[in-house]
Amino acid sequence: MAKPIPRTSSRRNGRISSRKNARRIPKGVIHVQASFNNTIVTVTDVRGRVISWSSAGTCGFKGTRRGTPFAAQTAAGNAIRTVADQGMQRAEVMIKGPGLGRDAALRAIRRSGILLSFIRDVTPMPHNGCRPPKKRRV
């Protein structure tokens, strides 16, 4: 195969590049992934292209504090603040995973003033697929 042409990749920090800042998105989807150790909140458009994201870790929490509901709340608030001034009015919420951040993030989203259309739980459920790791003996 021919060698791929080297390209300078645009700087990615989880946000779209600044020249697309003028894009007004009235409707979007907020994905909340709430695991036991962390909560990640991603705001995308209806097609799934990411607009902005934030997580408990990026909000300054470290270690076990990332999994707390308060951290989820700040992460959600952070993510929505960037997007609210892009003019997002309605949003759907997709919640994934078990974790303490589920309710707290939902509360923060609700309080932020964005109108919600649906709240969906999209936790992936295997139909008895891969074998999970062995039990912990702590």
């Binding site: 649906f118 739980d121 936790t123 062995k134 039990k135």
Partner: protein, 190 residues
């Protein structure tokens, strides 16, 4: 259209109740309810006709939306409700719903679907022994709950009273049946 005649029969059953149940055999005809907790896999994008009051549907249907919503109330939603992603629980939000109530509703639906319990179970591998233990525990809990539930309702008169009282009641009943046939009809209602 065979589908419409099927729908007419279906709707006459559905109309007195609230938004139609989710267990519809043809997947395209399942209209939304305020909560849906089955895994669904459909093709197209959801156009939230229900959530946005007063906004016209953007899909092209042969009937206008207003007409179809009068004739076939559930068919009005059928074209628009194909969901892109599979979900376990869905809660449709009104705009003026209180925050706590929304949260409680969501939590209740999630608990009914058993999402968090299932996640915890699948986190680590469970060998056959553990699985058997868990299943017996769940069965015991379910049976206990069912016994406790039904004993309050209607099983009191046959199962709780002693057999002597039951026999006496039966004899009296037979006596009354012979003498006063009308009493028999009234007693049958008890």
């Amino acid at each position: 259209m065979a589908a419409s005649s099927f729908l007419c029969n279906f709707l006459s059953f559905l109309l007195p109740t609230k938004p139609p149940p989710t267990k519809n055999p043809p997947p395209q005809l399942s209209a939304t309810s305020s909560t849906q907790h089955q895994t669904r896999k459909f093709g197209d994008r959801l156009v939230p006709l229900v959530a946005q009051e007063g906004q016209p549907s953007s899909t092209s249907s042969s009937l206008s939306t207003e007409l179809s919503s009068v004739i076939f109330p559930s068919l009005a939603y059928a074209n628009t409700l194909f969901f892109k992603s599979a979900y376990n629980v869905q809660v449709i939000v009104d705009d003026n719903e209180h925050e706590e109530r929304l949260l409680n509703r969501f939590r209740r639906e999630v608990m009914r679907a058993g999402v968090i319990q299932e996640c915890k179970r699948r986190k680590f591998f469970e060998n056959k022994q553990d699985e058997k233990k868990r299943k017996t525990r769940e069965a015991a809990k379910r049976n206990r709950r069912r016994c406790a539930h039904s004993s309050q309702d209607s099983h009191r008169k046959t199962s709780r009273i002693p057999w002597q009282t039951r026999r006496k009641k039966r004899i009296i009943g037979i006596y009354l049946k012979e003498i006063f046939p009308i009493e028999r009809i009234l007693l049958n209602l008890l």
